[in-house]
Symmetry: C2
Subunit: 190 residues, 2 copies
């Protein structure tokens, strides 16, 4: 008497992808924490232990979600002829303010995992490469890299200070504007 009355197939077929998609969707919908493993499994229609076939533990799931986040960020950033230092910064800030929960998760991994782990390392490298291209100005690679990290640090830091509540900006829009102005007056964007 297999399958009984449910027309759900026993094999899901793409459980890993479904799980990541569901988590990302939740975070983008506003939830600011990872769902419990059971909640996530339930949403997909599978027993909670099934997910452990694809993620060693919950931390691995978190890392994978961060990877999706950086991939999404890379897609959202400008490219081709639209790519320059300023457009990159605006794209980055828009992503941070639009997807606050996801953004926060991306940087909340346990110590030093961003580049050290294959996931999300690969996607992080993509973003860095894009930034290096946007900031390229004929100067040596070292100089360009330093400006990239200064700009990244400033944007990330001010955004995080806002998120944590250390900035006075009343609305996300005003905060975005404030950060943008600070970066422009820093001289990092020639």
């Amino acid at each position: 008497m297999p399958k009984s009355d449910s027309d759900q197939p026993y094999h899901h077929g793409a459980l890993k992808e479904a799980a990541l998609t569901a988590v990302v969707a939740r975070l983008r919908r506003g939830e600011d924490e990872l769902p419990t493993v059971r909640e996530l499994a339930g949403e997909i229609g599978v027993s909670h232990r099934a997910l452990y076939r694809y993620f060693a533990d919950k931390d691995a799931l978190k890392q994978a979600v961060a990877g999706e986040g950086f991939a999404l960020l890379a897609e959202r950033l400008p490219s081709g002829s639209d790519l320059n230092a300023l457009s990159l910064i605006d794209g980055f800030l828009s992503f941070a303010f639009d997807e606050t929960s996801l953004y926060r998760l991306m940087f909340s991994l346990r110590a030093a995992a961003l580049l050290a782990e294959p996931v999300p390392g690969q996607q992080v490298r993509r973003v860095i490469a894009l930034a290096m291209q946007a900031f390229e100005d004929g100067a040596g690679e070292e100089a360009v890299r330093n400006r990239v990290f200064s700009a990244w640090g400033l944007a990330h830091g001010l955004f995080d200070l806002w998120r944590a509540g250390a900035l006075r900006a009343a609305t996300p829009e005003l905060a975005h504007e404030f950060i943008r102005t600070r970066i422009l007056e820093s001289g990092l964007v020639a």
Copy 2:
């Protein structure tokens, strides 16, 4: 038959302070997460529910610890004639690198709690006031405030990128040096 064989008094006397001290000590000793309520209570020699007389829930404990963290930071920063923009930045970075776990907790509160909540708001204001003083240079308050937040954002952001693993710096010392250099070349420190 009160007290039985234990010579511990039934009343602890300073449970709240003891709890905060114990948590801060643990974080400074290297643990990078908050202990469980039971673990903490056990260390102090009290039942786990006793702590709930002083903290509404675990999040309140976390906020209180963050308050202690900012107070510690304020104490550690230079003052008097030793206070200037550069010495402040060095002090701030030393604190971040020396007390990484505590520092991380201080900025990991739930959304926008830093200034909005009395704890740790009070202590955060102390630090900001000190920074305003260090960056004072005769310009208008608005201009000074903007430079303070730019410098704070840059230091905090680059530190967090390092912590998360986005920077290449091999050791904390090199990371500290890297961040210091980026801030100096930003022109924020006249």
